[in-house]
């Protein structure tokens, strides 16, 4: 069974540039999560979806961050006008809504200089 797939694996931006991260969850998983993992910290939830609906996006840092999951499968996390403080690894995870185990992708590492 294929795991959670993320791309790109790495991105280096200058401040002010935009970037989009893409996530393909495990087939059949209805719940999809985006986590931000700053260096030397644990993952912190940004937003999560059940099917195509946003369940909670209250932890998105600012209106520079947006996420969509239009067909309830793949998802895109976009950061506009990136800042140095956005430097982190962005992890996507998926699960069954009735389960309790999240399955993570390998992450997209962002460096903003």
């Amino acid at each position: 069974e294929a795991g959670v797939t993320q791309s790109p694996r790495y991105a280096v931006l200058q401040e002010g540039q935009a970037v989009s991260f893409w996530c393909d969850p495990i087939s059949g998983h209805d719940t999809l999560y985006w986590y931000q993992q700053p260096r030397d910290q644990g993952p912190q939830l940004l937003v999560y979806f059940r099917d195509e609906a946003v369940i909670d996006n209250s932890q998105l840092p600012s209106d520079r961050f947006s996420a969509v999951r239009p067909k309830g499968t793949n998802s895109t996390l976009k950061i506009q006008s990136a800042k140095q403080g956005d430097t982190a690894t962005y992890l996507c995870a998926s699960s069954f809504s009735s389960g309790n185990t999240l399955y993570f992708g390998e992450g997209s590492r962002l460096i903003v200089v």
Partner: protein
Amino acid sequence: GDSVTQTEGLVTVTEGLPVKLNCTYQTTYLTIAFFWYVQYLNEAPQVLLRSSTDNKRTEHQGFHATLHKSSSSFHLQKSSAQLSDSALYYCALSDLAGGADRLTFGKGTQLIIQP
């Protein structure tokens, strides 16, 4: 709000000796599940252990943990460390009533096993 505390940022253990990684929590959730996730270098975090039953020992891959609600703890232990155990370990809690929603992680403990 809820929080998970891992007091050690780095733990170094000699191969063959026991390992203990501490995890305590604070939560307002009534029904909770606890997890230990392990993240090897350049890989995704993956679940190592899960428990939602008070005072019941859970084991996997030689590691074990027991949820103690009386002390708000879910420490991870192993009797004999192996070099391959070197990794980043995260403790996390989840509101069972909400399924896997809102998994809250600790800051992580880097475990290094030395020969």
